[in-house]
């Protein structure tokens, strides 16, 4: 009897459980077919850019991003061009080799024969490491407008954007250099705004931003070095930039924007102070293109110097610049005295931001020698006092105010122009 029930149970179980095919397939194609589709897509996308790709190559976390031009043809040939001081001696270099897309743990783009341009960062050279770049890359994203690659061995990152027609390599690099100069010359500093926080980006001329928290200590969690590459229309960041990693910041007027964050410079009055106090820059005053009152004061000092040092034809005021010296902001007064070399004396100023204005107040000589010069040339004190006042600041280049800032004291009808210079 027991055997009978067992038999019936087995039969029912077999019928009920044999073919439970209610599971829906997650994929409509096999793994091999999907892998092949990924390969085909990568091959097609890479070779489809008729004018090639602008490739931004970040070899490692200590390396700036480099601008390359790469053209993939459908027959397996890649033509790569670069111009930089690290691998090409600042000359345009082009080389031809082979490429392929293969399957590993995802579609892999490999440059499998040596190319003087593409392999320069991966070549181990004398120390076995070289510049720690890669030549095999996992394709993280590939469509007609954007490709993102990650190096298999050293996690070098590359970002590719299609190039427009009719652009020669010489034109491209001239435009990149112009953009670099525009954005990064004279130690320009930026504000980076994201997640309701604001940070300062400096050292842009190195290709690696140093990020510090504005208003907080610089040893915060986010503080550190972040490589970037200059594009003709913005900045490409890399390597886990806060929570907005791998983002391209496209130029939009005087701001570079991505989806959720932006890069810009501070308003001119604030920039004037930040540049001196946070970036180690100096504002060099144009002593020829300056308000008449100030020019008269400069002329008076020059005349006094010429009288005192009549044997030196060059005697006179050579320059004025605001900078940081120790804990103080000073005006450095440069002049020719008895020597053919310039002498410099520092005079302390208070620099106070008032809404959108900046108040400059002469305080005292910075040291004993400055005091002696002041005593010897009383007209200098008049000059120093002439610069006192509350200034409205303006610039014609909001992306890089170091190229020229104008300070206007409407109450005293005085003004001066200054350009930024790293000390």
């Amino acid at each position: 009897m027991k055997a009978k029930y067992l038999f019936i149970g087995l039969a029912l179980a077999s019928l009920l459980c044999a073919c439970n095919r209610d599971e829906e397939s997650l994929f409509d194609k096999s793994a091999a077919e999907r892998a092949q589709a990924a390969l085909d897509n990568a091959n097609t996308v890479l070779a489809a850019a008729e004018n090639g790709w602008e490739m931004l190559y970040f070899a490692n976390t200590a390396s700036k991003g480099y601008n390359l031009i790469v053209e993939f043809d459908e027959n397996g040939r890649v033509t790569a061009t670069a111009k930089n001081s690290t691998t090409t001696g600042d000359k345009i270099m082009t080389d031809v080799s082979t490429w392929a897309v293969k399957l590993d743990y995802g579609p892999i783009l490999t440059f499998d024969t040596y190319n003087n341009v593409l392999h320069a960062w991966a070549d181990p050279r004398g120390d076995g490491d070289g510049l720690l770049g890669d030549y095999e890359f996992l394709i993280l994203h590939a469509d007609a407008n954007y490709i993102k690659l990650k190096g298999k061995k050293h996690s070098a990152y590359c970002y590719l954007y299609p190039l427009e027609a009719g652009k020669s390599a010489a034109d491209y690099y001239a435009e990149v250099e112009a953009a670099e100069k525009k954005l990064c010359s004279n130690g320009n500093i930026f504000h980076f705004s994201a997640q309701d926080k604001e940070y300062l980006l400096h050292d842009g001329n190195t290709g690696i931003f140093t990020l510090t928290n504005l208003g907080e200590t610089s040893d915060s969690e986010e503080a550190g070095s972040y490589p970037f590459a200059i594009r003709r229309s913005g900045i490409q960041l890399c390597y886990g930039f806060l929570d907005v990693a791998d983002t391209y910041y496209e130029l939009d007027g005087s701001v570079m924007r991505s989806a959720n964050s932006s890069i810009s410079t501070a308003a001119p009055a604030a920039y004037f102070t930040e540049y001196v106090t946070l970036a180690g820059g100096a504002w060099v005053i144009d002593i020829e293109d300056i308000s008449q009152t100030t020019l008269d004061a400069i002329t008076a000092v020059t005349n006094a110097l010429k009288k005192a040092y009549s044997s030196n034809k060059k005697a006179g005021v050579q320059g004025l610049r605001f900078k940081q010296a120790g804990d103080n902001i000073v005006l450095t007064f440069s002049f020719y005295g008895s020597s053919s070399k310039t002498t410099e004396m520092n005079y302390i100023y208070e620099m106070e931001k008032q809404d959108n204005n900046l108040k400059l107040t002469y305080s005292a000589p910075a040291d004993e020698n400055a005091q002696k010069v002041l005593a010897a040339f009383p007209t200098l004190e008049a000059l120093l006092n002439t610069l006192d006042g509350t200034y409205a600041a303006s610039t014609s280049d909001a992306l890089n105010p170091t190229t020229g800032i104008r300070m206007e004291n409407s109450a005293a009808s005085t003004w001066f122009k200054a350009t930024g210079k790293t000390e």
């Binding site: 009978k4 038999f7 019936i8 087995l10 039969a11 029912l12 077999s14 019928l15 459980c17 044999a18 073919c19 096999s30 793994a31 091999a32 077919e33 092949q36 043809d73 459908e74 027959n75 397996g76 040939r77 080799s97 082979t98 392929a100 293969k102 590993d104 490999t110 440059f111 499998d112 024969t113 040596y114 190319n115 003087n116 392999h119 991966a122 070549d123 181990p124 050279r125 004398g126 120390d127 076995g128 490491d129 070289g130 720690l132 030549y135 095999e136 298999k152 061995k153």
Partner: protein, 301 residues
């Protein structure tokens, strides 16, 4: 009634089993690769097939797959130009040499199945060493630092390419038929696996090694003897032996003993005449004509 129960139950079980037939699979899960008639490297690949794969049963790999390299080292691929040059030169100074000297079909049967070119060396900066080649499992020879070869510098080509090929091929041979125990006994106390790189050539010779690397361990010593004997010119070989015997050093005697052992082993185990091999290589080195090499005129027999 009992029989009806049984039939129904058996029917249900069979129905359950039958309803579970597996899907039909094709012969492979992979998609057939498509040959590209316009491939950029098609001509070179066909040339390699004609001159390496068909006659010698060897795949000459110039493209680099990083998976096939030691992950502890950073390396880069060989350039197409150097791959082309080395492929021609290896026919001239290696494959065709064996065709002239060794028994028929020797390399097709015993040669490596894969020759892999790598553009850079495998550099170990901590130890101050660089690896120029390696033989793996008796089937693959990897030649490194190929991008840095100067084609007008035969000493350099010998040191980095052809000596390495003879070196690695000798590994393949002794991995198939072991070398005599008496060889190891000649320098047992002098092998220094960790510090060989701090030895100069002259010091190595006086100890009875053909090179500093030969002093690292017996099997490297064995293949370095063969490789150096084949590629060194008469003048260089005489110089090595002279220095090895200076001031009463025992190196000259040991080196000659080792060369004799290698000579005998190659003759007895492989039917190879070491001196004939050397003579053929020396003749070709001395009469190297790049135009002939790149146009394969040396194959006109």
């Amino acid at each position: 009634m009992k029989r009806v129960y049984q039939l129904v139950c058996i029917g249900a079980i069979l129905l359950g089993m039958a309803s579970c037939h597996e899907e039909q699979f094709g012969p492979t899960i992979f998609i057939d690769p498509v040959e590209d008639p316009n491939a950029y490297m098609k001509d070179f690949d066909e040339w390699l097939n004609e001159h390496y794969t068909i006659p010698y049963n060897v795949e000459f790999r110039y493209r680099l797959d990083d998976n096939a390299t030691d992950p502890n080292y950073n390396v880069v691929p060989v350039s197409i130009g150097m791959a082309d040059t080395i492929a021609h030169l290896a026919l001239y100074l290696w494959y065709d040499v064996y065709d002239n000297v060794a028994p028929e079909g020797f390399l097709k049967e015993n040669g490596p199945r894969i020759i892999q070119l790598i553009g850079s060396a495998m550099i170990n900066a901590a130890q101050g060493t660089e690896k120029l080649g390696q033989a793996e499992g008796g089937i693959k020879i990897t030649l490194m630092k190929v991008n840095l070869m100067e084609t007008n510098n035969m000493d350099q080509l010998n040191e980095y390419i052809f000596k390495t090929m003879h070196h690695e091929f000798s590994h393949i041979l002794h991995q198939k038929k072991t070398y005599p125990k008496e060889f190891e006994q000649l320098s047992t106390a002098d092998y220094n696996p960790e510090g060989w790189q701090y030895t100069s050539n002259e010091e190595a010779w006086r100890m009875g090694f053909a090179s500093p690397y030969g002093g690292s361990q017996a099997r490297e010593d064995f293949v370095e003897i063969i490789a150096n004997y084949i590629v060194k010119t008469d003048e260089d070989l005489a110089h090595m032996l002279e220095v090895a015997g200076e001031d009463g050093a025992r190196g000259e005697k040991i080196l000659n003993q080792k060369i004799d052992i290698c000579r005998t082993w190659l003759a007895e185990k492989w039917n190879l005449d070491l001196d004939a091999l050397r003579a053929e290589v020396q003749l070709r080195q001395a009469n190297l004509n790049w135009d002939d090499v790149m146009n394969l005129r040396f194959l006109d027999k």
